[in-house]
């Protein structure tokens, strides 16, 4: 019964979305106020109905109602409660419902908090948002209905894939979706602006918080996914340039570009057409990701069930949404008034270069992702594009970007003083070169690229710190006055400082972990030991153990550092009861300069086990760097100018003299 209510609520939400997609748009065109006003209750109603639908689905999972097909396929009565709940979005149908739920959530937020938006822009943006909703709800209902029933109902379900039974992964998809889907708001605003034929500083200010929220969640989502891969797959790796990982990484890169270019529109009323294009493309890449993951066009370890019919449907949505919006762009954007002028060497100039590099980097990732498909279609056989390709193309593009991120914030608007900025950064340059020297010395100059990576990481970290000291005039106006300044700085400034510092730390971690990881694979019997670096791992015992829905072999390692006891490690090899599939639970012990990482493999039945021990230098830095970036995003979101109703078109109109209307 509750399942049917959910199903019905989904249909009602679709009907509401259809009304919201059409009437406010017509209302905005012909100035019919009542029709425009319809967008608000419709958006809120759509969200409420979808919430009901999603709650009904979770209910079906919690009570293990195996007459619902997806529950039967992905849950089991013995599954722990948290994984019963997370199974609700751990499969294609349910995750799609979550997708549209988040989509409508963003719409509802704009409807509720967007009272200071010009009514026309709001009506149009919400209508566009609803169009996307209609498309994806149709997709859900016609090709992937999560409420489909099974008769007769089986007595027991098939359980969620054991690999997905993990607390980190329970929250990875919702985070990722808020990120992916949140970019739809920037998209809707961009389309609305294109219909109006006008973009100004106020527009950028409305769009930015949504972009920030999405970017922050996407950062967290990607980091959670990478961390999951790191400790669950047991290969000691956290990023494989897999098509599905790339699918989430491309919107992140484009979203990062959008965040930066929106600043230029907001502060200087320039780069307008480019920013619009970025807003369209960022969501385009989100949809592309959805398509790649769900259509089966590319084989990947993470993909959902593959079904060409579904793929065709999403491809049609992608073609319609992007085709429509890019046509609108080609038609309307050339007529937009160009904004403020600036010299090449300036804050605007450096942000533009940032955008150019980010866009090119995205293009290389896209190329790497699609090249195997293209080659296969042209009959060139199957290839797989791996890490060497990305090291050769992506990394060289990102390096100047990071150097630039250190300099850019010190440049003035309109016309910057490159010499002055570099002069301020001499300390950063010195430290960077010193760090490079140390890195070269560590491995006797074998990995020049790694040394460069460490160098630019240190450069960005120091430069970010120096930029902050400049803002508060540290050591130039007395400590008390500096402190007062430090408290007075806008939150957005701190957001940038935190995010850039986080990026720097993550880069140092990524570089070190990719360059200096070492591993040892060996057959071990109790009391054997493996020594890596200054740590020795002594296998004490392997004993059977039992979890709620699995049995496991649990190994006990004693780790010695320079002969002294350091820690105990307990890696497991689990066998889930319903799906007979072994999973590894790596034992990881972090310290400041890296992780100890142990994995136990299969036993030979005669008292020996295959054991893999990794030394993972600076991996904790990656996670803390990502955490700092997320923190930066949150701090920036809390900036005063988004809370106070500052954005009114009147005040912003000084920059762009109001055209008509």
């Amino acid at each position: 019964m509750i399942t049917e209510i959910g199903h019905f609520a989904l249909v009602l939400a679709l009907v509401l979305a259809m009304a919201q997609a059409s009437l406010p748009l017509i209302g905005a065109q012909h100035g019919i106020r009542a029709w425009m006003a319809l967008a608000k209750p419709a958006a809120i109603g759509q969200f409420v109905f979808l919430l009901v639908a999603f709650t009904a689905l979770i209910h079906a999972f919690v009570v293990s109602d195996f007459s619902v097909v997806v529950v039967y396929q992905h849950s089991h009565s013995q599954t722990p409660l948290i994984y019963k709940i997370s199974a609700a979005w751990g499969q294609h149908e349910g995750s799609l419902l979550l997708w549209v739920l988040i989509l409508s959530f963003f719409g509802a937020l704009v409807a509720i908090f967007g009272d200071n938006l010009p009514p026309r822009l709001k009506a149009r943006a919400l209508a566009v948002q609803a169009m996307i909703g209609v498309a994806f709800m149709l997709f859900t209902l016609f090709t992937s209905n999560p409420f489909a029933r099974l008769s007769p109902a089986p007595l027991e379900g098939q359980e969620l894939n054991p690999l997905l039974q993990d607390p980190g992964l329970a929250f990875h998809p919702p985070m990722l979706y808020v990120g992916y889907v949140g970019f739809s708001m920037a998209f809707s605003f961009a389309v609305a602006a294109l219909i109006e034929g006008r973009v100004d500083a106020a527009w950028a200010r409305w769009v930015r918080p949504w972009t920030l929220l999405s970017w922050t969640c996407l950062t967290a989502g990607i980091a959670l996914g990478a961390r999951w891969a790191y400790y669950e797959l047991g290969w000691g790796g956290w990023w494989f340039w897999d098509p599905v990982e790339n699918a989430s990484f491309m919107p992140w890169l484009m979203g990062t570009a959008l965040l930066h270019s929106a600043i230029v529109v907001e502060k200087r009323d320039a780069l307008k057409a480019w920013t619009l294009l970025l807003a369209l493309l960022t969501f385009g890449f989100s949809m592309l990701g959805t398509f790649l993951v769900r259509s089966g066009v590319i084989t990947s370890v993470h993909a959902f069930a593959q079904d060409p019919a579904r793929g065709l449907f999403i491809l049609a949505i992608l073609a319609l949404a992007m085709g429509g919006s890019l046509t609108l762009f080609a038609w309307r954007a050339p007529g937009m008034k160009a904004g403020g002028l600036f010299a090449p060497v300036s804050r605007e100039g450096s942000l533009m270069l940032n955008n150019l590099l980010l866009a090119t980097a995205t293009a290389t990732v896209l190329l790497g992702t699609l090249y195997p498909l293209a080659l296969d279609l042209m009959g060139g056989g199957s290839v797989s594009v791996g890490t060497p390709y990305y090291t050769a193309t992506f990394v060289p593009l990102v390096m100047p970007l990071i150097v630039l991120a250190g300099i850019g914030p010190l440049m003035g608007w309109k016309r910057g003083d490159l010499k002055g900025a570099l002069h301020r950064l001499w300390a950063a340059g010195f430290l960077a070169i010193a760090a490079m020297g140390v890195a070269l010395w560590i491995d006797f100059g074998q990995q020049a690229l790694a040394a460069a990576g460490i160098g630019i990481g240190v450069w960005l970290l120091t430069a970010t710190f120096l930029e902050w000291t400049k803002r508060i005039s540290l050591f130039r106006i007395g400590l008390g006055a500096s402190l007062r300044r430090a408290f007075g700085l806008p939150r957005a400034a701190y957001g940038m400082t935190l995010a850039h510092a986080g990026l720097a730390i993550a880069i140092i971690g990524i570089t070190a972990a990719s360059a200096w990881k070492s591993e040892e694979i060996r057959q071990m019997r109790p009391n054997d030991s493996i020594t890596i670096g200054s740590f020795s791992y002594v296998l004490q015992s392997v004993a059977p153990s039992r979890g709620e829905n699995y049995i496991a072999e649990r190994a006990h390692f004693k780790v010695l550092k320079d002969g002294q006891f350091y820690t105990d490690l307990y890696p497991e090899r689990r066998q889930y009861m319903v799906q007979p599939m072994p999973t590894t639970e790596a034992a990881i012990q972090s310290h400041i300069f890296g992780d100890l990482y142990a994995v136990i493999g299969e036993g030979d039945g005669k008292g020996a086990w295959t054991v893999r021990i990794y030394e993972e230098p600076l991996v904790p830095w990656i996670w803390s760097g990502c955490l700092l970036m997320v923190l930066g995003g949150i701090v920036s979101m809390s900036d005063r100018r988004y809370r106070v109703g500052a954005p009114s078109r009147v005040s912003a109109a000084q920059a762009a003299p109001a055209a008509g209307e």
């Binding site: 590319i298 762009f329 296969d376």
Partner: protein, 177 residues
């Protein structure tokens, strides 16, 4: 010239959409494994029957159109495709037979008692030997064998309604002609 700049994204999109559209062509489906056995005669196998049911021998295939389905009681996707196997069994002019793969006879019996038995003959392959002869990658797998005993089709994944309508039924209709 400037205009062209603004049209460029649209052109890129068109290229991408065409690429993906062609990539979705079911003929290119990455999950359908080509089998070297298609067009070949069925391997020599002789399997004892399950319970008192007839077993399977490669000589049985001559003169009849056969759908051969590998299944096991421990295999969840087999349950999912079971109704479709029943549907196949109801088609005129063909014979649906099954091979239980690495399964205990008691469990197989329970499975059939619960879900129904669409198979005219069931061979027991507890050693996995017959599976090896067919190049089995997992269960379920489904094969179509024509009157000459030649393998015409192989599906290395659970049968779904779409494949049943679009691939299997047309093929069977052609063979029974």
């Amino acid at each position: 010239m400037r205009r062209l700049f603004f049209i460029l994204p649209l052109l890129c999109l068109a290229g991408l959409v065409i690429l993906f559209w062609r990539g979705l062509d079911p003929a290119r489906d990455p999950s359908s494994l080509p089998s070297a056995l298609i067009g070949q005669k069925v391997a020599e196998i002789t399997l004892p029957g399950l319970g008192d049911r007839p077993g399977i021998a490669s000589t049985d295939f001559a003169g009849e159109i056969t759908v051969l389905n590998f299944f096991a009681s421990w295999c969840a996707p087999c349950r999912a495709e079971h109704p479709l196997i029943k549907e196949l069994a109801s088609l005129p002019g063909i014979r649906v037979v099954g091979i239980t793969f690495k399964d205990t006879p008691a469990d197989s019996e329970k499975y059939l008692a619960e879900l129904g038995n669409p198979y005219l003959a069931i061979g027991v392959d507890d050693s996995g030997r017959a599976g090896m002869e067919f190049g089995l990658t997992g269960v379920p797998e489904t094969y179509v064998i024509d009157r000459e005993g030649i393998i015409r089709y192989r599906l290395a994944q659970p049968l779904d309604a779409g494949r049943l309508e679009k691939e299997l039924k047309p093929l069977l209709a052609e063979l029974t002609k």
